[in-house]
Structures are given as structure tokens and as C-alpha cells.
């Protein structure tokens, strides 16, 4: 079992190892709680290593396909050649998303070790957490629309179980049911669109479909369904209302995985727009659709965040508004897709800004949710009104919250500034008004975060929090990992942009090379 063997089979292993570990969890539980936690941690660590190995290879030597089942070039008795095989295709963008998912999952498991200790049925908690990872990686790697639907459902069902994990709370089942209704209706729309495309082209493979796509009436209906479903799953206005309901009732480590799962839906949206439809669709209309959705998401998200009394709802609404930045940046890039000159000047940089924002968003949103979880762990409430003066006993937590809030508001030198700076500049060239609204939203984000910080951490120490201490070390470790990444990404932005973001964007926009690498010249 050499390194090469691992590398060749890593796309399958990244799915198979957590899947196997997940269903082994109820058995491993019999060996004791320490072993169970150890196995969960070892699994996510192994996945992180595999993902980094795979991503390094993909960035260096181009996309990698993995074939399940029949030999390539299978011909039916009637002489009809179909890509009947099940394919995984890992290009730069998939590898980039996989790095985000694996890192956040690692942090979530480290944080969960202590955070969830007092809960019962933890074997099933880790089972569902690993299944969530399976769903995310599956959606990122698959080159097949139907597989995308299946992994979307795996992701939704596992997340729904975890959102309802603290079922003894009055609001947990409600948040979970809303999430499940939204997810299943979105997934059914995806399936309907898949049916439309299959009925026309007899193929489910994204590359095969992209090659044959004519953008006729039926294709347009499929595009509308896919855009609607994935825009809802990534929580864009006006379909964003399920996001705060769901994030606020889930345990904090699950909230950060839910943030990543919305980003995976965003990835699916970009994959549909760029790879499946690409230049053959009406790029200006679709680009403006993304821009308008992004602008309204930005504005409504942040204005709803300001009056919130529940700290997790406040952070969730900010998370909704952050998705808007990515939609705007990528929408601007996509609407210039048919115009190579302007695309080269600033369209490409706009998409880079959006994708850089994606990784930054997962880091600081994760950090903020972990801090809100730390508060919940110590004082047992999410209500901002009953907090105050917590900076005195919880110093590391409050510093982490400060770093996270400065990053989300786009204050230099943290990572949020670097990506938003790229977005402002490039979008300004496209249309100054969009850029100005985005900057205004950044200011309002800072206002919302200042309110949360001053309500929870500042002020005199309250008598009811005399006994509060700092949270346990493994929770601190989870927060510090994310906080140091926020600072590092902020101090060395071009290191990340050149080595991670640029290959991802190149892979995302090069539709012909996706088709060629899967189907041959």
C-alpha cells in the first residue's frame, strides 16, 4: 500500500473511510467512550491528511478522475456508447472545497470532545457527523447529477438528525423539521431537473450533459429549477429564513458544519452555472440573477442581525449576509463570461475574491459559532440580554470573539478584509453602486458585532456569573485553530490566493477542460 496507491484511490477513500467509521460507531461504543472519541478523531485526521495529499496533487498536476464500475468506453450491444460508469472528478475547485470541509470537520470533532460530553447517545452523534462529511465530500467530488442528489439527501438527513440532537429543547424539533422540509423540497427540485436533462440527452454525467447542452426550452426549465433549489439551500434571500432557525438550535460544532454545508450548496450552484451551463446559457441574465440575490441577501441579512436577542440567531443572520458577498462576486464574474477582454481585466479577480471569501467565511463564521457555543457551555443560555461582563472570566474566548467579529466586518489586517477588498475593487469597476452597498453592509456588520460583543463581554461583572470559568482546553484548542487561521490568512493573503484560490478558480471557469478530462478529446 504505497503512497501512489493511496493517492489514486483517495477520492473513493475520502468517501469510504468516514462511511465505514460512521456505521462502526455503535460497535466501537462498546469499547468505551475514550475509544469512541479516539476513533472519531483519528478518522477526521486521516481524512484531513488524505484531502491535503489529494489537493496538493490536483493543484500540481491537474484534475483527477476516479471510475467506479465498468471499464471506460463500455459499448452496449446496440452499439450505443454511454458514460454509464459512475465517475468522481476532482478538479481544483472540488479539492479546494474538500480542504474547507475536512478542516472544519476536524475542528468540530476536536471541539465536540468536551462540548458534547454531558449529552447521551454520542455514538450516534459521531455517526451522523461522519455521515455529514460523506455527504459533503460526495457533493464536491461527484461528476454525476443524480449522485449529487443522493449525496445532497445524505447530507440533509444527517444534518437534520444533528440539528434535532438536543431534542429536549423546546425549539430543536421545530428547527430540524423546517430544515428537512426545505432540504427535501430543494432536493426534489434537483431530481426533477435531473429528469428533464436525462430525458433529453440520455446522460447523467455533468461533462456529457455540458457537451451536448443546447439551452433549449427544457434546458432552461431545468436551469431555473436548479438555480432555485441551490439558491434556497445556500440560504439566499428571500429563501433565507430557515437558516437562523436551523443554526440557532443546533449544537455549536454542528452549526459550523452547517455553514460549510451551505457553502457546499453554493459550490453546487457554481458548478451548475459554470460547468453544466457555462457559456451556452444566457450569462448576463444568470449573472444578474446571482448579483440581485446577493445584494438583497447582504442587506436583509445584516439588518435582521442587528436587533436579534439570541446570539446564535445574530451570528446566523450575519452568515446569511456573508453568502451575499460570494454571490455578488461570482455573479459579476459570470456576467462577464462572454466578454473575454473585461473578464481578463477584472472578472477573473472578482471570482477569485468570491472564492477567497468562501474559505475566509468558513473560518470566521466557525470561530463565532464556537465562541457562542462556549458561552452556552458555561452559562447555559443564548440570550444576549442575560449576558454581561464575561470578558473577565473568559479571556481567550473573548479575544477569539473579537478576532472573529473584526474579521467578519472586514477590518484589516484580518482575512475578511483581504477578500472583501478584492470584491469591492473588482465590483466597483463593474457597477459602483453594488460596491457601495457592499461596503455599507460591512459597516452594519461591524455595528451588529459591536453590539453583541459589548452586550456579552463588556460591562461590569454580573453577580450571577461569579462562578463562570474559562472553557476546557479542547474547546479552546478548536477556537484557537480557527482564530490563528483567520489571522494567518489575513497576514499572508497572496500566499493563499496564489496557491489555493487561483487553481480553484481556473478549474471552475474552464468548462472545456472539464469535459475533455472526463470524456476525452
Amino acid at each position: 500500500m504505497s503512497i501512489d496507491w493511496l493517492l489514486i484511490h483517495s477520492p473513493a477513500l475520502i468517501i469510504a473511510v468516514p462511511l465505514f467509521a460512521a456505521f462502526a460507531m455503535p460497535l466501537i461504543k462498546k469499547l468505551g467512550n475514550k475509544t469512541r472519541n479516539g476513533v472519531a478523531l483519528a478518522t477526521v485526521l486521516l481524512i484531513e491528511i488524505l484531502v491535503i495529499m489529494l489537493a496538493k496533487d490536483v493543484f500540481a498536476s491537474g484534475a483527477r478522475s476516479y471510475v467506479f464500475g465498468a471499464e471506460p468506453g463500455l459499448t452496449l450491444p446496440s452499439g450505443y456508447i454511454v458514460p454509464i460508469r459512475i465517475l468522481f472528478h476532482v478538479d481544483g475547485m472540488s479539492a479546494f472545497m474538500a480542504i474547507i470541509s475536512a478542516t472544519i470537520a476536524l475542528v468540530a470533532v476536536i471541539y465536540s470532545l468536551k462540548f458534547m460530553e454531558k449529552e447521551t447517545a454520542l455514538d450516534r452523534y459521531y455517526l451522523l457527523l461522519l455521515l455529514m462529511m460523506v455527504g459533503m465530500f460526495g457533493m464536491e467530488f461527484t461528476a454525476d447529477l443524480f449522485n449529487m442528489f443522493v449525496f445532497l439527501e445524505v447530507l440533509s438527513i444527517a444534518s437534520c438528525g444533528l440539528v434535532a440532537y438536543r431534542i429536549h429543547l423546546a425549539d430543536a424539533p421545530e428547527g430540524a423539521l423546517k430544515f428537512m422540509v426545505i432540504s427535501s423540497i430543494g432536493a426534489l427540485m434537483v431530481l426533477l431537473a435531473t429528469g428533464f436533462l436525462y430525458g433529453q440527452y440520455d446522460a447523467l454525467n455533468i461533462a456529457q450533459l455540458a457537451k451536448e447542452l443546447q439551452f433549449n426550452f427544457i434546458d432552461k426549465i431545468a436551469l431555473v429549477l436548479l438555480l432555485g433549489a441551490f439558491a434556497m439551500k445556500c440560504g439566499s434571500f428571500p429563501m433565507h429564513q430557515w437558516v437562523p432557525d436551523t443554526y440557532s438550535v443546533a449544537p455549536a460544532p454542528i452549526s459550523i458544519l452547517l455553514v460549510v454545508s451551505t457553502q457546499v450548496s453554493l459550490y453546487a450552484l457554481f458548478r451548475v452555472v459554470f460547468t453544466l451551463y457555462g457559456i451556452s446559457s444566457n450569462v448576463v441574465v444568470v449573472g444578474w440573477y446571482l448579483i440581485v440575490l446577493g445584494l438583497s441577501t447582504l442587506f436583509i441579512g445584516v439588518t435582521m442581525a442587528i436587533p436579534q436577542k439570541d446570539i446564535k440567531r445574530l451570528i446566523s443572520y450575519l452568515g446569511v449576509s456573508q453568502i451575499g458577498y460570494m454571490l455578488i462576486a461570482v455573479g459579476v464574474g459570470f456576467s462577464l463570461f462572454a466578454n473575454p477582454v473585461e473578464f481578463e481585466i477584472y472578472g477573473f479577480r472578482a471570482i477569485e475574491g468570491g472564492i477567497f471569501q468562501l474559505i475566509n467565511d468558513s473560518m470566521y463564521m466557525g470561530l463565532l459559532f464556537l465562541v457562542s457555543g462556549a458561552l452556552y457551555y458555561r452559562i447555559g443560555t443564548r440570550n444576549l440580554d442575560s449576558m454581561g461582563g464575561l470578558a473577565r472570566p473568559m479571556k481567550v474566548t473573548s479575544i477569539c470573539f473579537l478576532i472573529g467579529s473584526l474579521a467578519i466586518a472586514g477590518i484589516p489586517p484580518f482575512n475578511g478584509f483581504a477578500s472583501k477588498f478584492m470584491i469591492y475593487e473588482t465590483v466597483y469597476r463593474f457597477n459602483p453602486i453594488i460596491s457601495i452597498v457592499a461596503m455599507l453592509v460591512s459597516v452594519l456588520t461591524l455595528a451588529a458585532m459591536v453590539r453583541a460583543f459589548s452586550a456579552a463581554f463588556m460591562g461590569p461583572s454580573l453577580p450571577e456569573f461569579k462562578e463562570v470559568r474559562e472553557v476546557p482546553k479542547s474547546m479552546i484548542l478548536g477556537m484557537v485553530i480557527l482564530a490563528s487561521m483567520v489571522v494567518f490568512f489575513g497576514l499572508f493573503p497572496s500566499l493563499i490566493v496564489d496557491n489555493l484560490v487561483e487553481p480553484a478558480v481556473r478549474a471552475l471557469i474552464s468548462r472545456p477542460s472539464y469535459i475533455i478530462s472526463l470524456l476525452g478529446g
Binding site: 452496449l76 434535532a164 423539521l177 428537512m180 422540509v181
Partner: protein, 113 residues
């Protein structure tokens, strides 16, 4: 015209499902709406897989001739299995909501604003 009837039925099923999800205020009825949409989508996939004059892909010793590619049937089976899991999960959550809040009215949720 006659071969379009399955597709008309699909449209009707999806429309009825959406109507139930939008205008019925009982959570159980909303969930039933999802189940109806799902049957509509499954029906659509099965209808796509029908080819007149060809053999259904279920015979081991089929007579020689055209045989239908069984991909839509496979998709439908997968989708049905997923649908059962989703339905069971949602109904169990509805039971929990009734236990906690004493009502299944969608307008009386605690999570809002």
C-alpha cells in the same frame, strides 16, 4: 396526445403537492404535500423510462430485440428509498413538536423573526 397523459399527471401531482405545502396550516399535511410531490417526481422518472415496443429490463431471458436502459428505474428506486427515510424522519419530528408545543399549526412556531 395520449402519450402526454403521464406528464400531465406529473404536473398535477407536483401542483397538488405545492398547494398542500403552501396553503395547509397543519404540519402533517405539509409533510403529505412533500410525499405527493415526491410521487410526482418519481412518476416523471418512470414515465421517462418507458419506450413503446421495447422490453422492460426485468427479464433474464428476454427475447431478442430492443430492451430499455434501466437507468430511470434505478433512479426511481433510489429516490423512493430516500423518500421513505425523509418521510419517517419528518413525521417523527412532527410528533416531537406536538409533544413540546401542543400544536401542529405552522403559524404557532416558536422560531420567528
Amino acid at each position: 396526445m395520449i402519450h402526454n397523459i403521464p406528464y400531465l399527471a406529473v404536473v398535477a401531482l407536483v401542483a397538488i403537492g405545492f398547494w398542500a405545502m403552501i396553503f395547509r396550516k397543519n404540519l402533517i399535511k405539509v409533510i403529505i404535500g412533500i410525499a405527493i410531490i415526491e410521487s410526482g417526481v418519481n412518476f416523471f422518472l418512470v414515465a421517462l423510462g418507458y419506450r413503446s415496443g421495447a422490453y422492460a429490463p426485468i427479464y433474464t431471458h428476454a427475447p431478442s430485440g430492443q430492451m430499455v436502459l434501466p437507468v430511470p428505474q434505478a433512479l426511481t428506486l433510489t429516490s423512493i428509498v430516500i423518500g421513505v427515510a425523509v418521510l419517517a424522519l419528518m413525521l417523527s419530528l412532527a410528533v416531537q413538536i406536538y409533544k413540546k408545543q401542543g400544536t401542529l399549526d405552522t403559524r404557532k412556531g416558536v422560531l420567528k423573526k
